[in-house]
């Protein structure tokens, strides 16, 4: 069955119950979410929002209490539905007895790759993540960043159509982060759907096309990055102006803030800011700066989870 979505969930719910006290925790609470093929999707949320449980539900590591999840149109509980998936878990614990190449060989074999294919692709993927000289080294000797890159190679080696990455750049230095982003960009260009679970908002903002923010197990906000950060406007910085004019500008502006002897007025439209400029120039007041602004994802995130 072909589906236009890589991931489809419908009222997906996971309730954890303590064995004796009958206490309930609704880790995921009726999430309905569609992730189109070929996009880069970011899943955000504060700690305990249910992000990791949601990912585990997709991978069938956790069984849903209610609802269902489909991967490319197949029930996520079927083992075969996981064949086109590459997964990099958060807090992974790769067995330290593996060498880098040995680990890739093991997980590629579990994905059903034949020995000849594995022999060909393992050096290529070690090279892809910059570990070509480390393939024969036991991974117990790898740094956190190297393990993360090896984990990424493991997720990519069987040419998945959907990559699910849980905190992919966690513990990676800026150069390694850049390298991971470059690798992911290359796979995005090949049409691979990338689903990132991360708390690094800046990274999600620069990299993802679509975002969902989870809060208390529910989707609090979702949409394209462009739509979510469309709180556009203009910031007008003024050093000195008569008090009456300042008051008039304050009433016309969406907001006003003072910093370093400057007053920043936030206007929503071009007409409003032009009108403010006209008023200031009529009284020969200096304009220190005029900057077009957008809402950052961080602002959207904070607003959403503080509601």
């Amino acid at each position: 069955m072909q589906s236009e979505y890589a991931i489809e969930t419908s009222s997906l719910t996971k309730v954890y119950r303590s064995r004796w006290k009958r206490r309930e925790v609704r880790a995921v609470d009726g999430i309905t979410l569609n992730v189109p093929r070929g996009t880069i999707f970011g899943l955000l949320g504060p700690n305990g929002a249910g992000k990791t449980t949601f990912v585990k539900l997709l991978l069938s590591a956790v069984h849903p209490t209610n609802g269902n999840a489909l991967l490319f149109g197949r029930d996520a509980r079927e083992a075969e539905a996981r064949r086109p998936i590459g997964y990099l878990p958060e807090n992974h614990r790769f067995p330290t007895y593996f060498t880098g190449a040995g680990m890739l060989d093991f997980y590629a074999a579990l994905s059903g790759m034949e020995s000849s294919q594995r022999k060909k692709l393992i050096p290529e993927h070690l090279d892809l993540v910059g570990l070509d000289k480390w393939g024969d080294m036991r991974i117990g000797k790898y740094s956190k960043g190297m393990l993360q890159r090896l984990g990424l190679a493991q997720a990519l080696i069987h040419s998945p159509s959907l990559l699910i990455l849980d905190e992919p750049t966690d513990g990676v230095d800026p150069v390694g982060r850049r390298q991971i982003r470059d690798v992911l960009t290359r796979f995005e260009e090949k049409g691979v759907t990338i689903f990132i679970n991360s708390h690094l908002l800046a990274e999600v903002e620069t990299f993802c096309r679509q975002v969902a923010i989870l809060h208390k197990g529910k989707v609090a906000l979702s949409g394209t990055m462009q739509d979510l950060t469309a709180g556009k406007g203009y910031r007008l910085s003024v050093a000195q102006a008569p008090a009456a004019l300042m008051e008039e500008l304050r009433t016309k502006a969406a907001s006003m803030a003072s910093r370093d002897g400057l007053c920043d007025f936030q206007f929503a439209t071009r007409e409003q800011v032009n009108e403010a400029i006209d008023l200031l120039r009529a009284q020969r007041c200096d304009i220190e700066a005029l900057v077009p602004t957008t809402s950052t994802l961080e602002e959207v995130f904070v607003r959403t989870v503080e509601k």
């Binding site: 954890y16 585990k56 083992a79 878990p89 579990l110």
Partner: protein
Amino acid sequence: MKDLWTASLALIRDTFREAFARKIFWGLFGLSVLMILFFLFLLKIDLVEGGLAAISLFGRTANPATDVDRLVRGVYGGIATFLYTWGMAIAVFASAGLIPSVLEPGRIELLLSKPVSRTHILLGRYVGNVLVVACNIVFLVLGVWTILGAKTGIWSKTFLISIATTVFAFAVLLSVVVFIGVLFESTALSTMVAVALMIMSPILAQTSVMLRLLSSEWSRQIWRTLYYALPKVYDLGKMTLDAIQSRTFEGYMPIWTSALFGAVVLAGALAIFVRRDF
């Protein structure tokens, strides 16, 4: 089907790799080598002549043809019992950690994300574990058999039965290790329960005596139930000894009831593993 085979081989190879890394394989192998060296040392002693001389000491006239055969079979039987009991105990101790290790957070999620069923993952691990022990038992028994055969000229093929019975009894006990491992993720508890079953087995095997000694019908019923339900490690060892010494034994009940126990416990472990959240 080919994917299934590739994944199965990968899971078995991974168990071997972990057994090597944890020094389990080499530990068992080292003990086997020590045992074989010990029997090589015995080559220095003239087992046959010494045995016959010992018979003569008790005022009997030795009949070389029959007495040597009986003597060597006795030695084979003693060794088989020793290997069966201690070999299996060591194997249980050594390999009990191989199941809980695979369930560690951060490791199990990645395994479950692959297109392999949970049943397949656990069975792959189980089979790998049995094969690790089987390799060592085959090496040890064949080594001892070769030395004794070369020394005495009597090649008791029935001695090789101890390979099958030891591996079988280990496989049954491993099902308990897997069950406890999946349920509680505790290596120590898995080992304790498996060893407890080994210890209980010779006690429960005294059924005919105990049924006479127990006063109430319900206590006799409990004894019978425990005897028939639990794996018969002792009876299997005794069957091996009887086979080696060409004695008749009373039916195959210990084999099929132990196999049934192992199958039920393993099925229970699989049912828990399939339903668990990780």
